[in-house]
């Protein structure tokens, strides 16, 4: 009746000891963190005595998992960005135009002259043919340019929809192609954001896709969301475009298929460029800060084979004419092509400082964002505010716990002590599981733990009150204890399952700090049920077996 098999006793103690073992690193948070950081650096291959000393701060055989501190506790920046996927549609149409033009031009005798209608919806390409009667033929020709969508779900669909509106042929991306493009765009943006933030080397940033077209970025330890935006928001869109002419008038009409862009370092100088680039930054495989022959900071770059071929062909054909290196809609420089450049590598010079050339190389290497990011949500939390919150949370948790313990012991005497021991193990287990999962502790998360302290004793209270009741019917203390646990079980389970349901929903629907709260609340419920049902029971049984009291007072 009161017997608990030895294997189960061992198991319960093992769980508790395991909890202590895994929760221990959190007691030495700074020390373990330093050691972990040092080990991470050593793993990359570099080492020095200082790093080794730091790594030795925490023994290798001990677990080194720590509870992640959320941004609201550690300080840092939280950003929610929306990727403007429509921009890619426009870019695709832009790139498609030469192909359409060439295909129609080849049949000029039938369809007549081909002109592009500009200024409309950028996500569609409108082409006017002079022989309106031949629209059907033109439609056929353009449709012939369609290719199947390259994705798993796009099965059989073409990448473009083509329709005729009088003498205009309208080309848009098909539904399936848009879906496939969106997905690619987000993945690419995600990857680029990750690489850019990693380049800066901050600790454990969170970069996650959220929903269809959003990216969640959390970077602990940075001074402001603005800094993060600067790192990721800088669209290093590199293109090499043929130069048509140089001008001082910003409002000069660039002519069809051309565009006018300002010079980066020469005030009041503008370049008229052909809009279609020879090569773009997408074909770039490497960029390194370097110095040019005059010892000025510059950036070395190298193209992939496609880019190298296009660049080689172009330079071979246009020796003596200038071409522009354009970065983010600004002309960095417009050198004259001196000779054929076959190897696919080159150098960008400009009035850079060493810092700027390094930064530029980083941006080029990380690649261009495929589309602009709009920031929907930005939060910066200063580290001092986080530290204050931790300190306040600690004090509150401690005071709350002491209050509860005193209350329990006053109410239940020795049994209250048992409940206190269970409560301590409960705390230890919460931190152990949080550490093992690498879960994030937020400020509401601390509130969740404090709330758990209050509620964790509920299961014990249920049992103890039940034991008191059973004692009244005077069937001996052993039986009362046994019945108390048995009969309180259904109330404990029903009550906790419903709370668990709410924690689960909070976790699924909530984000950031709220999610952190759901995690600690949910874990707290699980561990408190374990400690209340198994640990206190084991303690009581062990005490009972030793003392064999004739009567007990709960």
């Amino acid at each position: 009746m009161m017997h608990i098999p030895t294997w189960r006793r061992v198991l319960i103690w093992l769980v508790c000891l395991g909890g202590l073992f895994f929760a221990a690193p959190n007691l030495f948070y700074d020390r373990v963190e330093t050691a972990n950081d040092a080990r991470a650096v050593i793993e990359t291959g570099q080492t020095n005595p200082e790093l080794e000393a730091d790594a030795g701060l925490w023994p290798e055989w001990m677990p080194s998992g720590l509870v992640n501190l959320g941004l609201d506790l550690r300080g840092g920046a939280h950003l929610l960005a929306e990727v403007q996927v429509e921009e890619v549609y426009a870019a695709r149409m832009e790139a498609f135009w030469p192909e359409v033009r060439d295909a129609l031009a080849a049949r000029r005798d039938t369809v007549g002259f081909v002109t592009r209608e500009e200024g409309g919806d950028p996500s569609e390409l409108r082409v006017r043919i002079s022989e309106a009667a031949e629209a059907a033929t033109a439609l056929e020709i353009v449709r012939g340019l369609a290719t199947p969508v390259a994705s798993l779900t796009g099965g059989g669909a073409n990448d473009i929809d083509v329709r005729a509106e009088g003498a205009e042929i309208v080309v848009t991306l098909s539904e399936a192609e848009r879906a496939a493009t969106d997905d690619r765009t987000i993945r690419q943006a995600l990857e680029i954001v990750r690489r850019r933030i990693d380049e800066v080397g901050t600790r454990e940033p969170t970069i996650q896709r959220q929903g269809a077209d959003r990216i969640l970025i959390e970077v602990p330890g940075v001074g402001s969301a603005e800094e993060v935006k600067e790192i990721i928001g800088t669209t290093a869109q590199l293109t090499f475009q043929p130069v048509v002419s140089r001008t001082g008038d910003a409002n000069e009409s660039p002519g069809p298929n051309n565009e006018i862009l300002p010079s980066l370092d020469e005030q009041g100088v503008f370049y008229i460029l052909e809009r279609n680039p020879v090569v773009t930054g997408e074909d770039l495989v490497d960029a390194q800060p370097a110095f040019d022959q005059n010892g000025r900071p510059a950036v070395n770059f190298r193209f992939n084979p496609t880019g190298a071929r296009a660049f080689g062909d172009y330079t071979a054909e246009n020796i003596g004419s200038p071409f522009a290196i354009v970065l983010d809609e600004e002309v960095i420089s417009a050198p004259v092509i001196q000779s054929h450049i076959p190897g696919g590598s080159g150098i960008i010079t400009g009035n850079f400082t060493v810092e700027e050339s390094t930064q530029l190389a980083v941006l080029l290497r990380a690649g261009a964002l495929p589309a602009e990011l709009t920031f929907l949500e930005e939060r910066t939390i200063g580290p001092e505010l986080g530290a204050d919150s931790i300190a306040a949370g600690k004090v509150a948790a401690l005071v709350g716990a002491i209050g509860v313990v005193v209350f329990m012991i006053l109410s239940y005497g020795l049994f209250g002590v048992f409940a206190t021991v269970a409560l301590s193990f409960n705390m230890v287990l919460i931190f152990a599981v949080l550490s093992i999962l690498g879960a994030t502790l937020t400020l509401p998360g601390i509130a969740g733990i404090v709330l758990t302290v209050g509620m964790a004793v509920d299961a014990n209270v249920l049992v103890y009150e039940r034991i008191r009741e059973e004692l009244k019917t005077a069937r001996g203390p052993a039986r009362a204890i046994h019945l108390g646990y048995e009969k309180a079980l259904s109330a404990i389970l029903d009550g906790n399952v419903t709370t668990l349901i709410t924690a689960l929903i909070l976790f699924l629907v909530g984000s950031g700090p709220v999610r952190g709260f759901a995690v600690t609340l949910g874990l707290g419920i699980l561990t408190s049920v374990f400690t209340a049902i198994f640990v206190t029971r084991l303690l009581i049984v062990m005490w009972f077996e030793r003392r064999r009291p004739k009567t007990i007072e709960v």
Binding site: A225, E384, G400, A401, L451, M455, E469, T498, G510
Partner: protein, 323 residues
């Protein structure tokens, strides 16, 4: 000698003042709804969009001066509130500046924040900005939607679970108690104009979880007593169940409130609203599980042989006894 908050063997008739308590609950709920519509909630930027800047300065906060400094920037609705906390020393004066969502932009631009910070530095050079949060109207709209979904989802899931484990009358009673708790919490937030943000939604759900826990314990005892005393009138039986579990209800609420009180006083101002919501909810939740949930069950009545299949003993001795 043990501390006993509730004396042993209580025999309180919780239904005696049923009209008064139930009436009071209904009046309080109506008042909450009226307050909600009349005064509205003091929505934080999570739900209405905009920017909140927390300022910290060595000299006392001068709300009027702050307002005057920001006014020339023409940012529309700007709310400046001083923040108090017992842990702040004399040289730590905190205020919160809330700026409405700006027309046509998703989140506030860096330039705007910089200008606000510059303007405030003009008032007090020691001022620092421990946190700056900005939420665009697009996200805030979605946050409202997901918050409402979360609360409704939780209520539905609980309704379903209670229905599964008990009788539907209990489920209705439990949900009535939960709606009561949520309404009253929203009511007090409207009355006191405490900032209502995403964390408060989390608090509401916690209240839901806590209150249901309380209600379920009483219901669980009622279920047990329904099997034990097949002929006891439902009213007496529910009273007996409530009296038997009263000590536990008060103990658990006591320990929880004790822990929350520590957090409320010492936990810092950042989560005070959140903790206050839960604190209030625990009080209201305890009340509702005693005075609301049971009343509904009594009104609806319970079919007494409902557990015949589940309980092997029920089929023999008392098989034909029905209330």
């Amino acid at each position: 000698m043990r501390l006993r908050i509730v004396p042993e063997n209580t025999n309180i008739d919780f239904f005696r003042a049923a009209r008064v308590t139930f009436g009071a609950s209904i009046v309080a709920m109506i008042a909450s709804i009226v307050l909600f519509f009349a005064m509205g909630l003091n929505f934080g930027i999570d739900f209405r969009g905009g920017t909140t800047i927390r300022t910290e300065a060595e000299s006392p906060v001068d709300v009027a001066a702050y307002r005057q400094a920001i006014a020339p920037l023409q940012l529309g609705d700007v709310v400046i509130t001083e923040v108090f906390d017992p842990s702040f020393g004399a040289d730590k004066n905190v205020a919160s500046v809330r700026i409405q969502a700006q027309e046509g932009v998703e989140s506030i631009t860096a330039g705007t924040i910089e200008r606000v910070e510059e303007a405030l530095k003009g008032v007090d050079p020691t001022i620092t900005f421990p946190s700056v949060e900005s939420v665009g109207p697009k996200v805030s709209g979605e946050l409202i939607q997901s918050a409402v979904l979360a609360v409704l989802g939780a209520l539905t899931a609980i309704l379903f679970y209670i229905w599964l484990r008990f009788e539907w009358q209990f489920a209705v009673g439990a949900i009535a108690a939960l709606v009561h708790d949520v309404t009253l919490t929203i009511g007090i937030f409207a009355a006191l104009q405490i900032k209502f943000d995403l964390a408060i939604i989390a608090a509401l759900l916690t209240i839901v979880g806590y209150s249901i826990n309380d209600t379920v314990v009483v219901f669980d005892r009622a279920r047990e007593n329904l099997r034990k005393f097949k002929t006891m009138p439902l009213r007496d039986l529910l009273n007996l169940s409530a009296n038997e579990t009263l000590s536990r209800t008060v103990m658990t609420s006591g320990t929880t409130l004790l822990a929350l009180l520590a957090l409320l006083v010492l936990g810092g101002d950042v989560i005070r609203g959140f903790v206050f919501a839960i604190f209030w909810g625990v009080i209201v939740g305890t009340y509702s599980s005693i005075y609301v949930a049971k009343n509904i069950v009594l009104m609806l009545g319970v079919k007494r042989d409902w557990d015949k299949k589940d309980d092997p003993k029920a089929g023999t001795q008392f098989a034909n006894i029905d209330a």
